[in-house]
Symmetry: C2
Subunit: 188 residues, 2 copies
Amino acid sequence: MKLSKKGEYALRALIDLGMAAEVGRPLVQVSELAAKELIPIKFLEQIMQLLKEEGFIESQRGKFGGYRLARPANKITIGAIVRLIDGPLAPIGCVSHTAYEKCSCPDETHCGLRMLMLDVRNAIAGILDRYTLADVVEVTLRKMRRDNVPLPFSVAPAPRRSATRSSHRPDLKPVEGLLSNLLSDYSI
Amino acid sequence: MKLSKKGEYALRALIDLGMAAEVGRPLVQVSELAAKELIPIKFLEQIMQLLKEEGFIESQRGKFGGYRLARPANKITIGAIVRLIDGPLAPIGCVSHTAYEKCSCPDETHCGLRMLMLDVRNAIAGILDRYTLADVVEVTLRKMRRDNVPLPFSVAPAPRRSATRSSHRPDLKPVEGLLSNLLSDYSI
DNA sequence: TTAAACCATACTAACTGAATGTAGTTTAAA
DNA sequence: TTTAAACTACATTCAGTTAGTATGGTTTAA
């Protein structure tokens, strides 16, 4: 049930780009992303190229170039990113919606394992296809603001709290669903 | 988010042992399991040994030996089996309950990815730790009986339906929870 | 014109997954 | 008591994936 390192890095980078956009930063360099997230730079370059080919991000070449999201963050689901890097969400092929594959069992219709795994795949997809980069970015920024932590990618060092809130979105709409529970403190 | 072949085989074999027990069959040989599920026999032998070492099954050696569940099927959760074979359910180490591992990100408390993945891990564990072999077996047998399919591991060839129902359990209690939805027909 | 940045390919070491092979030991039954 | 079916143990293999490195570009703004 693992997410690969590559998938993790891709998500981190995209979340960072989403945060940068939210904070008013137009471009972020690979070197900066790699340093912030402790990702080997050449490896991250590969990943960024892939994300660009697939239309998630855009690049500006040359000196002082960098990357930005190609679409608004709320139009990029987490599920799409994970599928691109790590393949189908389903634990076994015979319950995948996007990449169905017949399994070895003789009678799929009566396979108890399949029924169970369909449940699991729906639970995973229900989360990853519902939430977008925007949700993750919003929840992250909220927590950071609440704890008075300086925001990343701010052009100027983090300004006064009241000023920060009125950046791009005049008002934060409440998050519904599962992620919202995580706004409160939680232990491991 | 994949379940390994090994994990799949282990689950199939255990579900089969659960079905055999339910149908009154005391022991099942590896050769029979391998044939039914199309699993390479030597590979399955390895898996059975592991399951035995971990106390999920017992063996009877010698001619006409075989394997049986070491505990009642409702005392073996699917999650425990998956964890044994494939490791933690969590997509990334920093949200695992059973095998927590610090991740590379500088600030775990404000990591949006972590919050999301915690959600995913809870969704997966919520299913796999709730359901037991008994649940899967019951749901499978129900479907087979409903469709009048001969049950596997029956000592005699499948008897008339009315006779089959009154085997071990005098009456089937209704299944609650998510799996119950799957009792009705579903498409891929 | 140059340095910072992105772009493109090729390569590789280590690991894991999925078996296969060989050689036993045990035990019920003929 | 022999024997064959069944489990046990451990070594080996082989392909594919993961997680990177390495090398050498091309672009473009200062």
